[in-house]
């Protein structure tokens, strides 16, 4: 997917770069700031980032692609992360995963047709005493079953 950044988006990216470029080891903080702002790190921004931090575009690309957290494509209004780690598996997360995928009609790293929800896997949310767990944006949910996930999804859609 190629996207064309608006001049406003470019300005936002530049502002984030300027705000964080002086930090020691600035690349991750810069990438986080851009993703927090835009929801992803556009490939178009790599040269801008590379120039500001005296890196090559390849180095920026290398870092963005190394870390699971950084997204290279725009996401829906909400991001739903399902924990795939062992503790959640011990409490039936695989069934939950399948249920969520079929309810939303999408697989991991995809966004629902209405643009409301992007689905992502995650390895451990640190909520292992109350597995299975999901994270909707920054809101953590424990002991999630089909009933609870329906509520979570409905709330997110209502808010968007």
């Amino acid at each position: 997917m190629t996207t064309v950044l608006t001049s406003q988006e470019k300005a936002r990216i530049d502002a984030q770069i300027q705000a964080h470029r002086e930090m020691p080891g600035a690349l991750l903080p810069v990438l986080h700031a851009i993703q927090d702002d835009l929801g992803y790190v556009p490939e178009e921004a790599y040269p801008q980032i590379a120039h500001a931090l005296a890196l090559s575009v390849a180095e920026v690309h290398g870092v963005v692609t190394f870390y699971h957290h950084f997204r290279r494509h725009p996401v829906g209004k909400h991001v739903l992360q399902i924990c795939r780690a062992e503790s959640c598996q011990a409490m039936g997360s695989e069934k939950l995963e399948a249920h969520i995928k079929s309810t939303l009609g999408i697989d991991y790293h995809q966004t629902t047709a209405d643009g409301a929800i992007t689905l992502e896997p995650v390895y451990c949310l640190g909520n292992c005493a109350c597995s299975p767990a999901v994270l909707m944006d920054e809101e953590l949910h424990g002991r999630v079953d089909s009933h609870k996930i329906a509520e979570i999804i409905q709330e997110a859609r209502a808010a968007s």
């Binding site: 992360q81 390895y123 949310l125 292992c128 005493a129 920054e138």
Partner: protein, 516 residues
């Protein structure tokens, strides 16, 4: 005014603690009752969250689990004066689950308001730092060494020895790095410390800085922990304002600055050299050792890299002395271990105990058996790279050396229970899959071996060339175990081979074939 406590810990929030708190405030207003709501940390009895407490003259009384719909009846029963109600559990301190524990690192967790510096100080906070500021760096390091504290992150290396290397490494700049990239499934003790008692970590890092002469600290925090990030940043700001961090700590003339850096979802960055690469803004590729990070660490400078729990245990050691801490534990495992009960257990939560308790005590006395009511068939201890243990090994005491005798690891103290529905061949495949997803790619055994492992496990599932493929898994595991650069590839064989050895029937094998 009566104090009512509703936790703000992530797990409590994940079970609706915010809604419970709102319902309590609204009901109090409706009835014209004045209350003071405190958002404390969690006591760690997670199966009972939202765990509400009311301060009374006899102590704090627990009501749990409280859902918004329970709130009117709690007021009707005069819960603000510990009135009788089905959810009234009595005095929190008298609950046997808590009474049986030895909470040293977690002494304040669940009791205080996490971001209140006054609360922290009123509960023995900053006593350790006060002592440390009167001591020489060498004396602080000696105290830590004498306490017997070993790294709680997994490798169990003596903390004092690491510090001593940094202390004796001459440099114009040294660093303290806290490894808060707690990525192991079944672990949440780091998260709890950071969300529920952040100052204890800040104090521990400050003591480390004072001890080895480091003026800058970084907390490398998982991106999956948004609540911990907020709490830590708020606490760091308050500590700076109060002079517990900054250029001149409590007028001592010593400086220590602290900053939280967000990780980005790479499990391998829990490995210390990969973590340092990431902090420097690079791909998290594992470094060759030597040089040790203690000599050439972050930005090439001497660096202490310790886990959250290790650092959060420093204040009590400096407050009460090395011997006090060393008096707990068994053999060469001194002090206490915060154990995290997870997976298929009725009563999941945080249990801090001196080393030496058995798995069985934890699974049944504390954990209450499986959540599903079916027999517990396997437990994985120490995260995704830890061995799976069968019921016959449940009497093993939690001790680094005892675990290593049965080819298992204690790691970060996470215990994940599985009931009889678990398919251990699937779990072995998953271990390879996880390694393949998370491998940094630097060394071949891990990068290629993990992918080959998934493929072989898929062949085993079909039953074709079975004996040959089982042998292949063993050979592959041997290569990964002995040839990988770091613990990710090097320990993936633990879950794989332990599953194969203890649960051969899931691999279409009988015990006799395994022995052969």
């Amino acid at each position: 005014m009566i104090k009512v406590y509703v936790p703000r810990d992530s797990t409590a929030l994940s079970l609706g603690a915010d809604k419970t708190a709102q319902a309590i405030v609204a009901e109090a207003q409706k009835r014209g009752v004045e209350i003071e709501l405190v958002r404390n940390g969690s006591r760690g009895l997670f199966w009972l969250e939202p765990f509400v407490e009311v301060a009374t003259d006899k102590g704090r009384v627990a009501f749990a689990p409280v859902q918004p719909k329970d709130v009117p009846s709690l007021f009707d029963a005069d819960f603000l004066h510990a009135g009788a109600h089905p959810l009234n559990l009595g005095l929190t301190e008298e609950l046997s689950w808590l009474k049986k524990q030895q909470r040293l690192t977690f002494a304040r967790v669940g009791i205080t308001d996490p971001v209140s510096l006054d609360d922290y100080i009123a509960h023995d906070g900053y006593k350790g730092l006060t002592n440390a500021l009167k001591m020489s760096g060498a004396d602080i390091v000696k105290t830590v060494t004498d306490s017997g504290l070993r790294g709680r992150g997994g490798a169990a290396f003596p903390t004092g020895i690491k510090w001593n290397t940094v202390l004796n490494a001459p440099a114009d700049q040294k660093y303290i790095v806290c490894n808060a990239d707690e990525g192991d499934s079944g672990t949440y003790s780091d998260r709890m410390v950071m969300e529920d008692d952040p100052y204890v970590l800040i104090e521990g890092m400050t003591i480390a800085g004072v001890a080895v002469g480091a003026t800058q600290g970084y907390i490398y925090l998982r991106s999956e922990y948004p609540h911990a990030l907020k709490v830590l940043n708020e606490a760091i700001e308050k500590a700076n304002q109060a002079g517990y961090l900054g250029e001149n700590i409590r007028g001592s003339g010593k400086a220590f600055h602290l900053e939280v850096r967000r990780a980005a979802g790479a499990y391998v960055c829990g490995e210390e050299t990969s973590l340092l690469e990431s902090l420097e803004g690079k791909r998290g590729l594992v470094r060759f050792k030597p040089p040790l990070p203690a000599i050439e660490g972050l930005f090439g400078k001497p660096t202490v890299v310790n886990n959250v729990i290790s650092l959060a245990t420093i204040p009590i050691i400096l407050d009460k002395g090395a011997q006090f801490y060393a008096d707990y534990g068994m053999g060469r495992s001194r002090g206490t271990l915060p154990i995290q009960l997870a997976g298929n257990l009725k009563q999941g939560g945080l249990v801090e105990l001196a080393f030496g308790a058995t798995l069985r005590e934890l699974l049944y006395d504390f954990g209450g058996g499986s959540a599903t009511g079916k027999p517990i068939r396997a437990v994985q201890v120490g995260g995704p790279l830890g061995a799976y243990l069968p019921e016959s090994q449940f009497d093993t005491p939690l001790d680094y050396e005892e675990f290593s005798k049965i080819w298992a690891v204690l790691g970060h103290g996470g215990i994940v229970a599985f009931d009889e529905t678990v398919d251990m061949a699937k779990m072995a495949r998953y271990a390879f899959e996880f390694c393949a997803v998370e491998s940094c790619g630097k060394c071949t055994p891990c990068r290629i071996g993990s992918t080959r492992g998934v493929e072989v496990m898929d062949k085993i599932a079909t039953g074709k060339d079975h004996t040959k493929n089982i042998q292949l898994v063993r050979d592959l595991s041997d290569t990964m175990l002995n040839g990988s650069l770091c613990a990710l590839g090097g320990m993936t064989p633990y879950p794989v081979l332990s599953a194969l050895n203890h649960f051969p029937e899931d691999f279409r094998l009988n015990k006799k074939e395994v022995a052969a």
